[in-house]
């Protein structure tokens, strides 16, 4: 065991910003695990990335059930590094995961049912080796499941202690407004939205960003390009 002993000044190296109208502050830069953390990458390199990030004050690591490849392996690898290197630092970390894309075979392994979301979260907690995640996201809007069901599953993730906050990813502005309203009825504040957003893909600017500002919801863009399959049928695995 070689526990992480960060530079005593690491919290002075990065500014932290309040996430929307919430009590939670996030580092201005956070580390996403959507690539480079699957089993094809050496665990030593993954360990070095996570440790250096933390040493620079990057307290937020973002995962999803399907990150890998294979799906689940990014969470497994993160969990191993958390156990081996970050013991004693859990309360200094913001860990997030998501469910929405296809994770296992059959009708309960993707989209937005309560059945899928809570089972997936339990699997994520097992792979990560933690009692709870700080943020649990619905990864993509499900046009076929009542939004009330999906949002109540997120709310129950909080109520049961498996998550502290909830977020959504890849929802458009109108879907976001409805999700926030349903959650508010359940007594839960929508914390954060994670869209794809970069210099060449500014779809969030006309409607979504003003909507988030009005709702007091934070935004954490994923600095990645859309998969080229965006104009083709939905990708089945490994999507953002």
């Amino acid at each position: 065991m070689n526990h992480c002993t960060p530079d005593p000044l690491h919290y002075e190296r990065t500014p932290y910003q309040r996430c929307g109208r919430s009590g939670l502050k996030l580092p201005r830069v956070s580390l996403g695990l959507w690539q480079n953390f699957g089993n094809a990458h050496s665990l030593d390199n993954q360990r070095a990335l996570l440790r250096r990030a933390f040493d620079l004050g990057i307290t937020h690591f973002d995962a999803a059930n399907n990150y890998g490849p294979p799906p689940g392996s990014a969470e497994e690898n993160l969990g191993r590094v958390l156990r081996e290197d970050f013991a004693g630092h859990r309360d200094e970390l913001i860990l997030s995961t998501k469910a929405g894309y296809r994770m296992w075979e059959g009708p309960y392994g993707e989209w937005g049912s309560r059945k899928y979301l809570l089972a997936s979260l339990d699997q994520s907690l097992e792979r990560l080796g933690v009692k709870y995640v700080d943020i649990f996201y619905h990864h993509r809007y499900d046009p076929d499941t009542p939004l009330e069901e999906t949002m109540s599953a997120l709310a129950d993730a909080v109520g049961s202690g498996r998550a502290l906050y909830v977020g959504i990813s890849n929802y458009d502005a109108e879907q976001t407004r409805r999700a926030a309203a349903v959650l508010a009825d359940l007594g839960i504040k929508l914390l954060i939205h994670q869209p794809l957003y970069n210099l060449f893909d500014r779809w969030v600017e006309p409607e979504l960003l003003p909507t988030l500002a009005g709702l007091g919801v934070g935004c954490i863009p994923l600095l990645a390009a859309r998969p080229r399959s965006v104009d083709k049928p939905l990708p089945r695995r490994g999507s953002h």
């Binding site: 996030l26 201005r28 830069v29 480079n36 990335l49 954490i220 600095l223 080229r228 953002h240």
Partner: protein
């Protein structure tokens, strides 16, 4: 820093291709590459890398709490973290970026995974 190989249109192993700006599997269209070259000039003028510019540009929006970056090497995290100690983008820089981006149509459809 963008490598010469990247600027020559071969993004393999370039820092930009692994910075999360683009998926490695994505071939870079010529008009995008032209924009990337111009954006790189904006970055170089302030002593920044393109990845740093991309992060600073997202952080210009008050709605953006944090930017999620990908990294395959420790040096990439250090590089991007370095953008946080730089001054925010100036009005002139933002105008230059808008002008570069206006030359190609931005995608405005919602991304629905």
């Amino acid at each position: 820093m963008l490598t010469n190989r990247y600027l020559a249109g071969v993004p393999i192993d370039s820092r930009a291709s692994k910075s999360g700006l683009f998926l490695k599997a994505d071939p870079i269209a010529p008009e995008v590459l032209e924009s990337v070259r111009a954006l790189n000039e904006v970055a170089l003028a302030r002593g920044a890398t393109l990845a740093q510019l991309a992060v600073l540009w997202l952080l210009r929006r008050p709605e953006v709490t944090s930017v999620l970056i990908g990294a395959s090497r420790v040096s990439q995290i250090e590089d991007i973290q370095g953008s946080l100690s730089q001054p925010a983008l100036s009005a002139d820089e933002l105008a230059a970026i808008e002008s570069i981006l206006a030359q190609r149509k931005s995608r405005d459809r919602p991304w629905k995974g």
